[in-house]
């Protein structure tokens, strides 16, 4: 599986994502600097966490309007599996590839801790290695992870199985405790928790591995 990690000015989980991808897929991902719009064809695109453009204006707002995101949108719309974590999720909602928005945590604080969440839909290309309803532990580290969308959108997301993960407890005020969602087609996933930080026991657990393994299984 050939993957690419898109690096924006201020991305800071790009290395963590690359380490996880290499460890799990056995193949070093392509690190793509945001000015390299015409990067090679890949099977999987990852938008890593961090503070692209310092989170200035709104988290992910500037990155979402960058040239490279035009290319990412094009490829995602053509079906390339695209995965955004934390700031990557914020960028995906800002581009409109995923519905809704991520607002300041209800508690107002940055929150970094392990959280328990439930796999709501184990039929997506990102979650098939998990069991439906499986409880997993993945860390979060964000200031703006409070998922918001209007009721109609939320109903649709839930009705269509687009909610991939839900927190077991309210940690940031997210509506319906949503932690991660996919697009209607199912090839774009955005989530606040960091599966790339939970890939070996020394780091506190391995529950993040199956996400990458799911994609690998799908892509063969």
């Amino acid at each position: 599986m050939k993957s690419a990690v898109i690096v924006f000015p201020g991305s800071n989980c790009d290395r963590d994502m690359a380490v996880a991808l290499e460890k799990i897929t056995g193949q070093k991902p392509l690190m793509v600097w945001h000015q390299e719009y015409d990067f090679d064809k890949v099977d999987f695109i990852a938008l890593p966490g961090g503070f692209s453009y310092g989170d200035y204006l709104r988290c992910g707002a500037m990155s979402a309007r960058s040239h490279i995101m035009k290319e990412v949108i094009k490829r995602a719309e053509a079906g390339v599996p695209t995965f955004g974590v934390c700031n990557g999720f914020q960028i995906l909602t800002e581009t409109g590839l995923l519905p809704g928005a991520l607002m300041r945590n209800a508690g107002l604080h940055f929150v970094c801790k392990d959280v328990k969440m439930t796999v709501e839909n184990a039929d997506t290309m990102f979650t098939s290695a998990y069991a439906a309803g499986e409880e997993i532990t993945i860390p979060v580290a964000h200031h703006d992870g409070n998922y918001f969308a209007d009721t109609e959108t939320l109903d649709r997301l839930e009705g269509e199985g687009q909610v991939a993960f839900k927190y077991n407890e309210d940690i940031n005020g997210a509506q319906r405790r949503i932690a991660g969602i996919t697009n209607a087609k199912g090839n774009v996933l955005g989530m606040m928790p960091h599966p790339e930080r939970m890939i070996e026991p020394a780091l506190g657990g391995s529950d993040g591995r199956k996400l990458f393994e799911s994609v690998m299984n799908r892509l063969g």
Binding site: P9, N12, A20, W33, H109, F110, C112, K113
Partner: protein
């Protein structure tokens, strides 16, 4: 053209610059003339306490700084130690006390930014941030606000640059009511053959400015940090710098990218006193002169004067000397990262710092005089009188006292703080905050660094020599307790006004004790920072020499943690417990006193017991270990039970009263837990080695029980008290709850 030098130098102006008459006379004699306004400003910051260490240098020279593994001791941006396999750990701790009191968010944030730059300047990728924080008493009206702002500032900066904040310490005492302490530490990793220094070389070589633009922020920050606080200092808000962690992140990446080439001769960050101290230090270390054309300095504001540009403390800026002909290549790297890059001067053979502005020379000073002629004071001091040992009364209700300690401001969980720090980014944090030491893997290996920051100001106040020893020994013990070998320390020496003999006595005493401990434990000082004049309206802080220790472990899979691991484990105490409740946390918090001599630190015993415990961890006999410190045995047991979510029942024997056994703060003690058979082996091994050892009891159940119920506390109550204090306390800070 108006360049500021038309301002007349008057005795008042000299005084405002923090220079006394004798110091001013020294400047005139060094220059052979009166300085102009620009030059006066430059001398004033270079000769400030902050930059010149004029009150402390004499005593700092006595500290041990060498060991076979020390690559670079004090005097550079940060200390460097060899950790084997061609790799080096680079680290330093620095204070940002005054700015954090005036504007807690930005003060703390820029403190983190500054210490990060000190470390990546030397070629290291920062891998861990730590801190040591002191606030006033919890009930003081400003404490909540300051704590909330400082924590948010540390997180705001560290989280954004993507360097994990892996631990630290936070304490409260009324002596910090008007003068909080914010000490930040950064640890980085580099290859031993890729370390960068600040000595400039090569006449004609370009001097390059990179990073953010220069504004008027922070002017006189360095002199502010060297003056006592008065109430109206709070009006001095505009001098506080504002941090931009986004730019810092870009600067780290750009510098490391350029450092991978061979273009850099010397590099230095612009910290306190900005362009002045960076250029003077680079020129001084290299024995050369600098000529700077200030019109080339990237400026954020219009009509800046040379004085302002030289003294500005705008953040996220670096100065470099490049090999000739590499400017274009370097410029491309900085442009890629969208950072300013400007050649602002060149190296000369004059030995002077020469400043040009609008085509004119506006300043011309001998570098030597800025550095070496700086005054050095051997300030008079009186040693702190020795205290006698005291017997400390038992509490009226032991159970309640223990509960109050575990669920009180000093021993409660700091989760509320560290959950606001990204402590996992970079994917190598294998021991998170809350343990004895933070442990961060050396990326791509099984090796790891263990880091701890400690000091017990109560002891330093009661007996500075003992307190100095204890601060060093406690970091050594904390690093040992996770299974690492302590290698070296950095420090941040926070004291009151050195012009007071008693305060100077505290300083000298603490340094004496620190020096002894460093020598006895083979644990040298490789970098540090001094912060004096920490007092408000004549009331000084407790002497607070914060120590940041770094150790290394070869196999991080063997690391120990404090959490008890399930039921059926045997708990063993290593080290002797004595009647040492003088200056203890129990005495302070429950009885409201700080009396008697603090616990004695016997460095031979410290070393013997520590080496024994470390071997247990390295041999795989033990993976649960906690050192004993504030609150003694009972606090350590509670920590271990709470972290492991399992109860423990112990029996303590001997002649000492129970409250002494449980609360004494005798040094060089550890608790370990393991299976019964191994515990018995450990007991025998300790006996054979002449180390006092006691098998205390067994884990299991959901209570903490001592001597069959003399003390019997539900783990759920302890946990609720321990976890609850800080969130409940901070809930009363409206914008931060």
């Amino acid at each position: 053209m108006n360049n500021g030098n038309e301002i007349k130098i008057t005795p008042e102006l000299v005084k405002e610059h923090g220079l006394n008459e004798e110091e001013y006379a020294r400047i005139v004699s060094a220059m052979g003339r009166e300085p102009n306004y620009t030059e006066l400003g430059i001398y004033s910051v270079m000769w400030s306490e902050h930059c010149s260490y004029k009150s402390s240098r004499f005593h700092l020279k006595k500290l041990p700084t060498k060991a076979p593994w020390v690559i670079q001791g004090p005097g550079e941006n940060a200390g460097v130690i060899d950790i084997g396999d061609g790799q080096a750990a680079i680290f330093k701790m620095e204070s940002h006390n005054h700015p954090s009191y005036i504007e807690p968010y930005q003060g703390a944030a820029t403190g983190v930014g500054g210490i990060l730059r000190d470390v990546f300047t030397m070629g290291a990728r920062p891998v861990a941030n730590m801190n040591a924080l002191r606030f006033g008493e919890p009930d003081h009206p400003k404490t909540r606000h300051l704590l909330a702002g400082v924590v948010e500032g540390i997180g705001g900066y560290g989280n954004c640059v993507g360097v994990p904040t892996v631990g630290g310490e936070t304490n409260f005492d009324e002596s910090y009511n008007g003068n909080i302490l914010v000490n930040a530490m950064t640890v980085g990793l580099a290859d031993t053959d890729k370390i960068f220094y600040c000595a400039a070389a090569g006449v004609g070589n370009p001097v390059v400015y990179v990073g953010s633009k220069t504004g008027r922020d922070g002017i006189h920050g360095a002199t502010m940090a060297s003056a006592e606080f008065t109430e109206d200092s709070e009006e001095k808000r505009p001098t506080v710098q504002v941090g931009d962690p986004f730019t810092e992140k870009l600067l780290i990446e750009a510098c490391l990218e350029l450092m991978a080439t061979d273009a850099i001769i010397a590099i230095q960050d612009m910290g306190a006193a900005g362009l002045t101290s960076s250029s003077v230090e680079m020129a001084s270390k290299g024995g050369v002169g600098f000529e700077l054309d200030l019109d080339q300095v990237p400026q954020r504001e219009a009509n800046m004067l040379p004085y302002e540009m030289m003294l500005s403390e705008s953040q996220e800026r670096m100065l470099m000397v490049l090999k000739p002909g590499r400017e274009d290549m370097a410029k491309k790297i900085f442009e890629k990262w969208e950072l300013d890059f400007a050649v602002i001067g060149h190296i000369t053979d004059t030995g002077n710092l020469t400043l040009k502005f609008g085509g004119e020379v506006v300043g011309d000073m001998p570098i030597n005089s800025l550095v070496e002629d700086a005054p050095e004071y051997e300030r008079p001091y009186v040693p702190t009188p020795k205290r006698d040992a005291v017997d400390v009364d038992a509490p009226a209700d032991l159970g309640k006292a223990v509960m109050d300690l575990i669920g009180g401001p000093n021993l409660c969980s700091r989760r509320w703080i560290w959950e606001q720090y990204d402590h996992m980014v970079m994917g190598d944090t294998i021991q998170r905050p809350g343990g004895d030491a933070a442990v961060v893997r050396v990326h791509g290996t099984e090796k790891a660094l263990a880091i701890s920051t400690d000091v017990t100001p109560r002891y330093c106040y009661a007996d500075p020599v003992e307190g100095g020893r204890q601060a060093v020994a406690e970091t050594w013990r904390n690093i040992t307790a996770v299974g690492a070998t302590p290698l070296a320390i950095t420090n941040c020496l926070n004291f009151g006004n050195p012009e007071r003999k008693d305060i100077m006595g505290q300083f000298v005493g603490c340094l004496e004790g620190m020096g002894e401990a460093c020598r006895a434990l083979d644990y040298p000082i490789v970098s540090g920072n001094v912060s004096l004049y920490n007092e408000t309206n004549g009331s000084g802080i407790l002497p607070t020499p914060a120590i940041g220790g770094v150790g290394v472990m070869a196999d991080s899979n063997k690391m120990a943690t404090i959490a008890l691991k399930g039921a059926g484990q045997t708990v063993v105490l290593i080290g002797e417990t004595k009647n040492e409740l003088g200056a203890s946390l129990y005495q302070k918090q429950i009885l409201g006193k700080n009396e008697g001599c603090p616990p004695h630190v016997d460095l031979d015993i410290e070393r013997r017991n520590g080496d024994f415990v470390r071997a247990l961890i390295e041999n795989g006999q033990v993976s649960t270990c906690h050192d004993l410190s504030d609150g003694g045995l009972i606090a350590a047991l509670a920590d271990m039970a709470i972290a492991g979510r399992v109860g423990v029942s112990v029996n303590v024997e001997g002649d000492l009263p129970l409250h002494v056994v449980l609360l004494s703060e005798t040094q060089a003690r550890y608790l370990v837990a393991t299976d019964a058979e191994t515990a018995e082996t450990i007991r025998k091994e300790a006996k054979d080695a002449g180390i006092p050892v006691a098998v205390l009891g067994e884990t299991g159940g959901d209570r903490l029980t001592v001597n069959g119920g003399v003390l019997d506390l539900a783990l759920s109550d302890l946990t609720a008290a321990h976890e609850g204090w800080m969130p409940n306390y901070m809930a009363k800070e409206p914008l931060s709850a």
